[in-house]
Symmetry: C2
Subunit: 397 residues, 2 copies
């Protein structure tokens, strides 16, 4: 399953990466190239190849046939490299300035060569550092509005869209999300991890049949709703940013799924960062949540009015209905993401880094409560402002 | 688009069909075979090859690279033959007695060789003739319950299901449904056809923004909801039956779509037959509608309890929620089907055959009214019995 191309595939070394860059003439012939592997070694090799004379550089990313997570090694399809390359190329049709440029790809070697974004910082780290990233939500709202509208049946030839659905069938990476976001955190599963003191709160989630029924519905949407080409892993760790630039990276989880999934992950990861901050520093995050939604709505609506190919697009109330359904689902997906990032396998530095422990536990309790309420109340929550209100309640677990 | 395999493909003649049957050793070597082409020539060639000594027979069905509809010729992908064969084989895993056996297929020639069902009658014709087909709804309910559960994420390995989704991407035939069921009848489109006297009633549909908003939502479900491998064209003309046997044929529109689409088409075509009958003869059709739903629920629930692979399947209320959502969507899809079969391109003999014209016009007015109400009221309709009530109201167009 993991590696259909084992006869050709092999992991590159740093000197292989330099040789490849030369062979592809990505630099002047006489350039002095240096290379460092800068990945975290969990999923991919990431080589930064630099021309030491003028500092021009590229990133050579190569998928590894396994994932190292908390010490374990899971086999993981190399096909995700094809998905990532094709998603980047498709997204660049609509938001060329918000994704890294792709220079070259090789499916058999599971390689994508792309723009070096080392001058930017991962948004999660920047937000933890207290940076404002003033254009983050404007850019992410634009990314969401354009990539999701123009790959949906509202904005894309419906025949061609089906061919794209086929091209982006992504079972292995979808399975990770189905398990780690939508299933394991809601059952006593050995991938979960949390402080022993949280057990009563976690038990409450596992025993809450009404909550689990709503999660089941959201999971079914993730499994079945082929609405648009979603990024599929759009947390703040998949965004490079600084004060003026934003780039969305790593779309290896891309597939045709519900539009609200991407938006919900953005909401949730901004919310988790807010929860990790003192009250007076939270508003900037809630403002980012609001602005992400507002810009998404503006971009999606503009695209709808200018470029909708769906005959029913002009029917009174249809756009408003679509947006309200997307919002409701976004809120529900955000709730799932908040819970899984608190007690599941892949937790976040925003929350894990809170000291002292007592404060961290209280924050996690609040996160579990907010996550549950977003899921259960998603039909009555109508604006992103209301999301903030849920974080202001006393923890009642 | 229509024919990627033109270098190999060519339409068979009757003697080609006999030669093929011999080459494949479908009959004893010394058999005297005769062959008749019995198709209606619109979409497919259908050869019936018979051993005149013992009356053993097979059907050789070959897709044509075009569709003849009302005199026009539309290019139509030969790939539908692959879809049909694969759907029949997949369905036969769950309901071997309710689909024709497949003996052989050839993708390049767009050929499927299958069980001869000439001893049965097309259900639409039988119902028009006033036959009861006492087991029709029991069998169709079983077909629906089993094929739809076991190809959904509730009952099928979720990884394998995605591979099947890919295999059954079916853009050309889905497009026909998107246009002829969900779009054209709701707009002034040249595929529509109806008596001039119906224009005020048709105008009312075209001007009804609330109705069109609901149709837009249902169309979007058809475009995006990859819930199970649906037959995709499950009207009474796709069913062979007699008093004891039922066989579902012609799944060339099969794709992963909403479960309610198949159920809705069954409801609608039984309903249209009921509308064509005098009052005292309608109950048998409404009973079929009720029993189809009841047997579907029983089969789907049994499969859920015995074979569900979804972790959330045991959550309180989940099965009930899933069934209520399927019913709601079935009612809405039934409404669309009733309307398109009344004024769209592919109307039905049940209604078209009503004489005198005044009676036919009244029936069509009622059909348009019932179809609209099913679409608009689908959330409040909770049982198939209520569908009948809508046909008992005075026509208020």
């Amino acid at each position: 399953m993991a590696n259909k191309k084992s006869s050709i595939y092999q992991p590159l070394t740093e000197s292989d990466a330099i040789a490849l860059a030369k062979r592809l003439q990505l630099f002047d012939e006489k350039s002095q190239l240096t290379c460092n592997e800068i990945g975290d070694g969990n999923l991919n090799l990431v080589f930064r190849v630099v021309n030491s004379e003028n500092n021009e550089s590229v990133i050579i990313k190569q998928a590894l046939p396994y994932a190292k997570v908390v010490g374990e090694s899971w086999p993981l399809t190399l096909d995700r490299s094809r998905i990532e390359t094709n998603a980047l190329i498709k997204q660049s049709e609509f938001v060329p300035n918000l994704v890294p440029k792709v220079y070259y790809s090789d499916e058999a070697l599971a390689i994508t060569i792309m723009e070096d974004l080392s001058h930017l910082q991962i948004a999660r780290a920047a937000l933890i550092d207290g940076k404002n990233l003033p254009l983050l939500s404007k850019h992410i709202g634009e990314f969401l509005g354009k990539t999701l509208f123009y790959t949906s049946d509202y904005g894309l030839d419906q025949h061609y869209k089906k061919e794209l659905v086929k091209q982006f069938i992504n079972p292995d990476l979808c399975k990770i999300t189905e398990d780690l976001v939508f299933t394991d955190p809601f059952f006593n599963h050995d991938t979960n991890e949390y402080e022993a003191e949280l057990q009563p709160d976690v038990d409450q989630i596992w025993e809450d049949q009404a909550l689990k029924l709503e999660v089941a519905k959201l999971k079914h949407l993730f499994l079945t709703k082929a609405e648009a080409l979603v990024h599929g892993d759009l947390h703040t760790g998949s965004i490079f940013a600084d004060e003026t630039e934003t780039k969305v990276i790593d779309p290896e989880f891309a597939y045709f799924g519900p539009i609200g999934f991407d938006i919900g992950q953005v909401f949730a990861n901004l919310l988790l960062n807010a929860l990790s901050k003192d009250t007076e520093k939270q508003d900037i995050l809630f403002d980012h949540i609001e602005e992400t939604w507002e810009v998404f709505v503006a971009e999606f609506s503009k695209a709808w009015k200018e470029d909708a190919i769906e005959t029913f697009a002009s029917v009174e109330g249809y756009l408003e209905y679509v947006l309200s359904e997307i919002f409701e689902e976004s809120v529900g997906f955000a709730g799932c993401e908040v819970i899984r990032r608190t007690i599941g396998l892949a937790r976040v530095a925003d929350i894990e880094g809170i000291e002292p422990k007592e404060k961290r536990l209280l924050t996690k309790q609040l996160a579990l409560q907010v996550g549950s309420e977003l899921i259960k109340n998603r039909k009555s929550i109508k604006t992103p402002k209301e999301i903030k209100n849920y974080t202001k309640q006393p923890v009642n677990f």
